[in-house]
């Protein structure tokens, strides 16, 4: 009522009731429309600013900005002297847009020349080493699969020379992209140990796989805004995540020595028709591996070139075998260390020995009973003589010594899929195994473990952890993951020296002594010939022949262990002996070992 009264009063005052009413209606209508329009804008505003804000922002940035991957560089694997064994390089993929593959115009000598697709394909092919038809086929295949296909590879992982040559062609529908790759500048040198990466950069084997935690890098990204001409808009926001490079793995390997050892080993293995072979060079005082060679060698740059997948790994780490007579050094050292026999103790070694427990031991060749000392037993490599010494210890005692020498446990290298060998617990030994383990049968070791046994004897009875990696070198130069290098005493110093003296006598008096003679140095060494398993629980006709030893014997510094599997043309230790000689000569020469002064002690071999 009051409203009406007041409006009536106002209308009366203006004296024009009709105009006033329509004016009010107009005002009301305007206000309503205004509010409706504002409401629409408000709703739209809230929708854009709040509801769809994130997706719209993303879209707008996506239209202007370019994101690109900043590649982190996978760490290098270097040898002890810093020589790069595995490194990362940038390679390039040449790509194209099949849907846009049409003739284009090119300015040649100021004249515009039309270039057909076939001509362009032929030009690209001449650079990338393909035929033009192959590239045309790629285009047609891509278009068949998808008529709008905008991406196809022309060539992958080409080097910068090819990339530049393709860019020189100025073909508008070709592009390039970065593709970080791995190279191994020294080829097959230590290739079996290094391992390799798959095509998309996943580590497949060896150190690449075992040390991936150190080597792996993290890619970063960088996003910035660019104008139509591709130049970055000044002041546009840049969001970047820094790439993190991987650390470098520093190995204990000497690449030059490793090459020599591989070359020497391969030559002999081919000459003797061997199935495979390994050679290990170890520093006697530190346990560091200076060279590990495998035959056949794999070139990680060309893994496909090695047909047998088993040849692509390192058998020195992953293949255990019955070591045979090289293992007698361990039994002799155990007996001497326990004090149950001395170098003067004599035994009678028959051709065939039938111990009371029912085992049946015989020597490799027929001979009458011989009165032998430990020296004589090892020179002749007599199984029966060794059994007479070995049985002076209980099985458990010998088992404990073997464990202390590292038999039955993978070494400390941390190599992926390293074999620990087989050493059954004592209560699983049968009568024959009880004796067979004295001369390296009934158990298996890797070449590395055999080397470690000789390292222990050479290093006055202290076994050092077998070391392949010095550590992971971070970008700031600090070394992380440095392996423990604390030695453990396995033998007394006198027992180790006595064993060393016996092995020196073996070096001088063995039937292969003329084949491994290194003038000027005192050397301790022992041969081994062991039957190889046929894979069906029995023995094959093949032999694994080996030589292990160290020099200079008066101050042992280097251990060399050579194993050759199934050399069909020469299945005795005469096969590895010259390899041992060449490798040890090279090691002594390379590291400038001082020639021995005093002569070797002369020990009696008979009594």
């Amino acid at each position: 009522m009051s409203v009406r009264n007041s409006s009536a009063r106002k209308a009366g005052a203006r004296n024009n009731p009709t105009n006033s009413r329509s004016s009010r209606r107009r005002t009301f209508f305007t206000v309503v429309v205004l509010f409706a329009v504002i409401g629409v804008f408000l709703v739209r505003l809230v929708d854009i600013q709040v509801v769809q804000a994130d997706s719209l922002t993303a879209d707008s940035v996506g239209n202007r900005s370019v994101g690109q991957v900043v590649y982190g560089s996978r760490g290098e694997i270097v040898d002890a002297n810093g020589v790069v064994l595995a490194g990362t390089v940038m390679r390039y993929n040449i790509t194209m847009s099949p849907v846009n593959a049409t003739p284009f115009k090119r300015t040649v000598d100021g004249k515009k020349v039309e270039v057909s697709v076939a001509d362009a394909a032929a030009e690209i092919g001449a650079v990338t080493g393909q035929t033009g038809d192959a590239i045309l086929l790629t285009i047609s295949t891509a278009l068949e699969a998808n008529a709008e296909a905008n991406f196809a590879y022309i060539a992958q992982k080409v080097d910068v020379g090819v990339l530049r040559a393709v860019q020189e062609l100025h073909i508008p529908w070709t592009y390039s992209e970065n593709s970080p790759s791995r190279v191994y500048p020294n080829g097959a040198v230590a290739g079996n140990m290094l391992g390799y990466l798959s095509g998309d950069g996943v580590p497949q084997a060896g150190l690449e796989s075992g040390q991936d935690a150190c080597l792996a890098s993290t890619n970063g990204s960088e996003t910035y805004e660019k104008g139509a001409d591709g130049v970055r808009i000044p002041g546009s926001s840049v969001t970047s995540t820094a790439a993190v490079d991987g650390g470098d793995v520093v190995t204990t390997i000497d690449s030059d020595l490793n090459w020599f050892v591989q070359q020497t080993l391969a030559a002999r293995a081919q000459e003797t028709g061997a199935a495979w072979a390994t050679a290990v060079v170890q520093d006697a005082k530190t346990g560091k591996l200076l060279a590990v060679a495998d035959y056949p060698s794999v070139d990680p740059n060309n893994v496909g070139g090695t047909e047998n997948p088993e040849d692509r790994g390192s058998r020195a780490f992953t293949q255990s075998f019955e070591p045979g007579s090289t293992f007698k050094a361990l039994t002799a050292a155990s007996v001497l260390d326990a004090g149950v026999a001395t170098l003067d103790t004599g035994v009678v070694s028959p051709y065939r020995y039938l111990p009371s427990n029912g085992a049946n031991i015989n020597d490799s060749h027929s001979h009458p009973d011989q009165n032998m000392t430990m020296t004589g037993v090892l020179i002749d490599s007599s199984n029966t003589g060794m059994s007479k010494f070995g049985e002076m210890l209980t099985d458990q005692q010998r088992y404990d010594y073997m464990k202390a020498f590292g038999v039955g446990t993978a070494t400390e290298t941390g190599f992926p899929r390293e074999d620990g060998g087989i050493l059954h617990p004592v209560d699983e030994w049968d009568n024959q195994t009880s004796y067979a383990t004295m001369f390296g049968q009934g158990l298996t070791t890797t070449a590395l473990q055999v080397s470690s046994i000789y390292q222990t004897i050479a290093n006055d009875g202290v076994r050092m952890p077998v070391q392949l990696v010095e550590g992971c070198r971070q970008a700031d130069g600090t070394m992380t993951n440095v392996p423990d290098a604390t030695g453990t005493r396995v033998l007394s110093e006198s027992a180790a020296n006595d064993t060393s003296n016996v092995l020196e006598m073996v070096y001088q008096k063995s039937w292969v002594s003329s084949k491994w003679n290194i003038p000027g140095y005192r050397v301790a060494a022992k041969t081994g010939t062991a039957q190889m398993p046929d894979g069906k629980g029995g023995y094959s006709n093949g032999y694994l022949v080996s030589v292990s030893g160290f020099a200079p014997a008066d101050d042992p510094q280097y251990v060399v262990s050579v194993s050759i599997a199934d050399p069909v043309k020469l299945n005795t230790s005469a096969a590895p002996a010259p390899v041992f000689q060449e490798i040890m000569s090279q090691v002594l020469k390379k590291y400038r070992a001082v020639p021995s002064g005093a002569t070797a002690p002369d020990l009696p071999s008979t009594w």
């Binding site: 040198v189 000044p234 070139d299 003038p519």
Partner: protein, 189 residues
């Protein structure tokens, strides 16, 4: 008491309120500002407009400068990345030819022979340790048994024409002994 004070204050307020109102009315009647004040106003306006114009021009020039800088940065960055690629590719070549396989093959190509028979002269008594013999070319004389796919297609130094080798400044091979292609096959024992 408080009643009294309130009334008094209201009275004062009214007076205070009315007086300025009357005075304001008086000011409104004053004649417009004298014409001499117009000139400074134009001057100020011009100054302001000129200032704005100057700022706009300066900003334009600055952004042109920055854009120019962006193009320069862009071209420098691309030439830096090109040079980086060249450096990487050259050092890759260097590492590759420094590999033992390449060195051994080149040394042999130049007629060098590896000696696997070291002989030592002991200074204390002049004793000769080992049996001196001419180097026969050990296993290293054989074809490389340690492959390196990266060396495929690379040329040995000795196979380069002499003028190429010397212009490249690699090695002066004029004084090197001329060795017929293919050393006598070494006898590996």
């Amino acid at each position: 008491m408080s009643d009294n004070l309130a009334r008094v204050s209201i009275g004062i307020d009214r007076e205070a309120f009315d007086t300025p109102a009357r005075e304001r009315r008086g000011f409104r009647l004053v004649a417009p500002a004298p014409s001499r004040r117009a000139r400074p106003r134009i001057f100020y306006a011009l100054t302001a407009v000129a200032g704005v114009a100057a700022i706009i021009v300066a900003q334009l020039l600055l952004s042109v400068g920055i854009s120019q800088g962006a193009y320069e940065i862009s071209s420098l960055q691309s030439s830096q990345s090109e040079l980086g690629r060249t450096a990487a590719s050259v050092s890759e070549d260097l590492v590759r030819v420094s590999s033992p396989q390449s060195l051994a093959a080149n040394a042999e190509g130049l007629g060098m022979v590896s000696n696997s028979n070291p002989v030592y002269l002991r200074l204390s008594d002049g004793a000769v340790l080992g049996a001196p013999a001419s180097a026969s070319g050990s296993q290293a004389g054989a074809a490389s048994l340690v492959p390196n796919a990266l060396l495929t297609g690379s040329t040995l130094l000795a196979q380069l024409p002499e003028d190429v080798a010397s212009t490249k400044g690699a090695v002066t091979i004029t004084s090197a002994p001329v060795v017929p292609a293919g050393l006598a096959a070494p006898t590996t024992r």
